[in-house]
């Protein structure tokens, strides 16, 4: 997309020359696609507006009333014009629609191997939890060159996750997970805004996304490690005596949970649904809503007894149970700068029997092949 780069350069130049920002940073894989559509529409619509305005000017001057009693002149305008200006714009409109839908569809679903980060929004802060349990507030560290999926839920009202440099946007809703994904392409620090009005400090529900080179991210992770999500989920699972029913043996009163995530579940109603985060979540807080075929509705509901974070942990644990080892994509490079504290690796603390731990995780491909410069060159944005 050379023409885009050119335009981008033009805008940056304008920004420098006049200290007038005109165009947001393009820092995600998604951003150039959105911008391409933007420039296409800008060209078409700008062209049409200019044409209309010029035409009006021209007519208005040419046919101005020169004498107070000058009448309009008989004009022969073919009525076929009407159809022309119904059909031709419609075709353009269709192209806008199709392109826009494609851009959206393309990014609707995160790639399977996306790194999942849990995000909780609440009045008025953003909380994040990395897969290994590192938490942060209002700042999100991510590796570049890797799809990141934010699984988000709100603790109170509707918020909206907006990172202009990534051109992403998604509402964060209470009691339901929404997700958004992106892949940062440029190291740097970017704005993160809440864009859905959520009360007094809405304008201060802001933060920054710190995009790092993968190895730096890893270093950061190690520095900030506070225990694995799934790990704490496991603790809860035992503490709440979930394991009393979901024992995994033949006489168990509850279904066998490993492998549940992403699998089809047959319900008593005959319906078959995919066990995604929302299903698992619902199964915990309102088990009676959808009952797995072959089981009685005996599981107690935990609605109101668990905080959102605890539910996230439980869900993470159950998802974790489900994953086969080769589905994991640990972010740890083979030569991690600092060794993990013992017991911090989720893969080594899973309940035995269901998932076999593996000693050496494969290398991160992005790390191996990343041609990008070190982040020193990246210019941090004001915040």
């Amino acid at each position: 997309m050379t023409e885009l780069t050119l335009l981008n350069a033009l805008f940056s130049w304008a920004a420098l020359a006049f200290r007038l920002p005109l165009f947001p940073e393009q820092a995600s894989a998604n951003a150039p696609r959105v911008d391409a559509l933007y420039f296409f529409m800008l060209a078409v619509c700008g062209g049409v507006s200019i044409a209309i305005v010029l035409l009006i000017f021209y007519f208005a001057v040419k046919y101005r009333r020169r004498a107070p009693d000058q009448l309009a002149e008989e004009a022969h305008v073919p009525i076929a014009l009407e159809w022309a200006w119904i059909i031709i714009p419609s075709l353009f409109f269709l192209s806008f629609f199709a392109w826009g839908a494609l851009v959206y569809f393309e990014d609707a679903k995160a790639p399977k191997d996306a790194l999942e980060i849990a995000c909780t929004g609440r009045q008025w802060m953003w909380k994040f939890q990395h897969p290994d349990g590192q938490r942060e507030i209002n700042t999100l560290h991510i590796p570049i060159g890797k799809p990141i999926k934010l699984v988000m839920v709100s603790e109170d009202v509707i918020h909206s996750m907006f990172v202009p440099a990534f051109r992403i946007h998604m509402d964060v809703i209470p009691k339901r997970y929404t997700e958004v994904w992106f892949e940062a392409t440029k190291p740097g620090t970017y704005h993160m805004f809440c864009s859905q009005y959520c009360g007094t400090e809405h304008a201060n529900m802001i933060g920054s996304v710190v995009a790092l080179e993968p190895h730096e991210y890893q270093a950061w992770l190690n520095g900030a490690a506070t225990g694995s999500l799934a790990l704490r989920g496991e603790g809860l699972f035992n503490k709440l005596a979930c394991n009393g029913c979901h024992t995994g043996d033949a006489e168990a009163r509850g279904p066998y949970l490993p492998g549940l995530y992403g699998r089809n579940v047959q319900l008593t109603t005959g319906e078959v649904i995919v066990a995604d985060e929302n299903y698992i979540r619902e199964s915990i807080i309102k088990p009676g809503a959808k009952i797995a075929a072959g089981y009685d509705n005996i599981m107690p509901g935990y609605d109101g007894q668990l905080t959102e974070e605890q539910i996230i942990e439980l869900v993470a644990y159950i998802k974790h149970l489900g994953k086969k080892y080769d589905q994991f994509e640990p972010v740890a490079p083979p030569t991690a700068p600092a060794p993990r504290p013992a017991g911090q690796n989720p893969d080594q603390t899973l309940p035995t029997g269901n998932v076999k731990p593996s000693a050496t995780p494969p290398a991160t491909p992005s790390e191996a092949t990343s041609p990008r410069p070190a982040p020193e060159g990246a210019r941090p944005k004001a915040n």
């Binding site: 005109l22 165009f23 959105v34 559509l37 619509c45 049409v48 507006s49 209309i52 305005v53 009006i56 007519f59 208005a60 046919y63 101005r64 009333r65 020169r66 107070p68 009693d69 009448l71 309009a72 002149e73 008989e74 004009a75 305008v77 009407e82 119904i86 714009p89 409109f93 269709l94 806008f96 629609f97 826009g100 839908a101 851009v103 959206y104 990014d107 109170d156 009202v157 509707i158 909206s160 907006f162 202009p164 440099a165 051109r167 992403i168 809703i173 209470p174 009691k175 339901r176 929404t178 805004f193 864009s195 859905q196 009005y197 009360g199 007094t200 809405h202 304008a203 004001a382 915040n383």
Partner: protein, 564 residues
Amino acid sequence: MIEENVSLPRIHYLNSHYGWKSWLFTTDHKRIGLLYMISITLMFFLGGFFALLIRLELLTPQADMFNADTYNKFFTLHGVILVFFFLVPSIPATLGNFLIPLMIGAKDVAFPKLNLLSWYIYAIGSLFTLWVVAVGGVDTGWTFYTPYSTTFANTHVIAATLGVFFTGFSSILTGLNFIVTIHKMRAPGLTWFRLPLFIWSLYATSIIQVLATPVLGITMVLIAVERFARVGIFDPALGGDPVLFQHMFWFYSHPAVYIMILPSLGVVSELISAFTWKRVFGYKFVAVSSLMIAIFSFIVWGHHMYVSSMSIYAGMLFSILSYLVAVPSAVKVFNWTATLYKGSVSYDTPMLYALGFIGLFTIGGLTGLFLASMGLDRHLHDTYFVIAHFHLIMVGGAVMGYFGGLHYWWPKMFGRMYPEWWGRLSALIVFVGFNLSFFPQFIIGYLGMPRRYHVYAPEFQVLNVMSTAGSSILGVGYLLPLVYFIWSLRYGKVASNPWMAKGLEWEAASPPLPENFLEQPVVTEEAYNYPIRPAQPTRHTGRLTSGLAQPADTTGKGREAEVV
């Protein structure tokens, strides 16, 4: 503008009865139109005042004028007041009320008492809102999104929703009245395709008012009930679904944006015709496009919800339907432009507004297309790009149309002219101020500044300063007409039909008689039947004086009114 030598009719609707009772208990559509005009003018300046406060705060990135809560109340009240209490009733309830019976040759609207009732209901709604303003405001945004509005806000949400509920009711009654009036009260000979385009657009508007507003009404009541009784109709904590609220809200509020713009589109059609002395090109297409806009307006609401977690298939559907509604809008723009071709274009104040309207509406509408595209809206949603989009349409479009119409029909309403020079000057100021206010916001929006922020990142400041500067110029542009309109009521030059415009309304006296026409008019010709000179090889030979001496007198009826 043509210099006329006329005098006011001896008895007209303004002086036929005296005293406050003759106003507050009137059933005369013209007087009710004026009651509305006074009320919405108050609301306009109140809402505009909040706009100035908003812009003042946004002059700097920090919160140095107002704190967060105050600012949040400002934009909420600004939106609520200007949308529900100014723009929705604006053209229909003032110009529409005044002109529909005149334009279709009727003595009054079909249900005069209902008409008065609707003003009272509007007044009750306004009182609720003014009460909210007085006791401390409301901070939910004009969209009242749940669960914030129902469970978390601690401002006067119930009173505000009830205010909206009442004004909605009033809007329903107005629309109902207009539909029946247009169907049943037309003068003999006035067939559908002889109606002025303004009537067509108000007819289309009324359909939306009648069919969409009840949904808003009940939604507002549900919010009030949920807040009051703490039941969980939209509260996810109790099993409710906040996205359902959005569906119900936008089912009204998207069509509502066409309640706001359609009447203006109608006014502009009238203006373009009157100031080119020409029939609007493609009359039937323009007429039917109003109906099409009204019908399509009901099926696009989801474009406000692309990132609300709505299903993406529904998003697709809404996206393509949104483009559908742009087609009839485009038809109008192109036809107006074509009307100018070989017209006799004069630049009186109303025409300046009309020309400004076309440009700004087009750009506003086209940026709506950016938002309607799912891929782009994911970046643009709830940024200043949206703010700029709808201000271009609502202020640069709808409000300009209203002002244009006001200037155009002012001599009809009061029998006197406003000062033309001042009129043109204020039109110019409005145009300049407007563009300075809102064009920078497109850029701020694409850069990513979210709306409803009273503090913002410093790099957005330059553009925000421009916007604030523009809004103060705009304020001057709006204050001028307020002054010279009032001035003209007393000192303006007496006028009857200074534009030499056609249409039944111009055949009544200016100001019209209490009963509008002495005798029921009979219509025998198309709308906008201006005399036309034959196509000429050279431009300057085609000047005809005949037909202009009595340009309006083509039906031969109703003219007596003027010489009473």
